[in-house]
């Protein structure tokens, strides 16, 4: 049976506690829920905000494709992928992923896999603004290495 997917690209805020509460209420009875929340780190004042450029339609499709691949690959009952776009201030949540499964391992792996792919393959372009001005961020070598774990 296909997992229930909730994939959203959000131009406004993302409240992880609210997202967690909604997901847990709807999907918690599966047995195991794993969540991941990522926050933009200020790096001791070096980063003021990120701007995530996005291509309406293509960016959502890339998130959806990653969620579907996770659901196909792991024995999960539900997966939520919420991702910010536009301006995200330091201290704000940029991404929330939650996976539900009857099995602890599948829930962990689905969330982990989805995050590794999102960090490398989401159709987003990240510009960092801070103490040293603004610059586009390239994919990091560490993210490419994380992604390789699944091949």
């Amino acid at each position: 049976m296909m997992a229930r997917l909730d994939v959203r690209l959000l131009e406004d805020g993302l409240d992880p506690a609210a997202a967690y509460a909604v997901f847990d209420r709807a999907e918690g009875s599966a047995g195991a829920v794993v969540s991941f929340t990522g926050v933009v780190r200020g790096e001791s004042g070096a980063v003021d905000y990120l701007f995530l450029d996005w291509y309406p339609g293509m960016t959502e499709a890339s998130l959806q494709e990653i969620a579907e691949a996770a659901a196909q690959r792991f024995d999960i009952t539900a997966l939520s992928v919420l991702h910010r776009c536009g301006k995200v201030m330091a201290g704000e949540t940029i991404v929330f992923v939650a996976a539900a499964s009857a099995h602890r391992r599948a829930a962990f792996e689905a969330a982990d896999y989805a995050m590794d792919r999102l960090k490398s393959e989401a159709a987003l372009w990240k510009r960092e603004a801070g103490r040293d001005g603004e610059h586009w961020v390239e994919p990091r070598a560490a993210d490419a290495k994380d992604l390789k774990r699944w091949t």
């Binding site: 990522g38 995530l52 291509y55 293509m58 499709a61 490398s120 989401a122 159709a123 372009w125 586009w136």
Partner: protein, 81 residues
């Protein structure tokens, strides 16, 4: 006419977010890319490999044919989230 969109670093390089243009002779992404980014490529500001492309929101290679009414985009490599 085709609608051309720019994202990420390529919006900075092109100095714009969008452009409406007639389909060029030859009708491939390659020709359109080289025309739009002629100065930046000549000045070494970007290389052809840096410029990623899509047609109708699907990632494409430079030999992809484009037709009247298509939506083309040029962008830098996805940075991920």
């Amino acid at each position: 006419m085709i609608e051309v969109l720019f994202f990420g670093k390529m919006a900075d390089v092109a100095g714009r977010r969008s452009l409406t243009i007639g389909v060029p002779d030859g009708g491939t992404l390659h020709v359109l890319r080289d025309r739009i980014f002629a100065d930046a490529l000549a000045q070494g500001q970007v290389t052809a490999q840096d410029i990623r492309m899509s047609v109708n929101k699907v990632v494409a290679t430079s030999d992809r044919r484009i037709d009247d009414g298509d939506e083309v985009a040029f962008f830098s490599i996805f940075s991920g989230g």
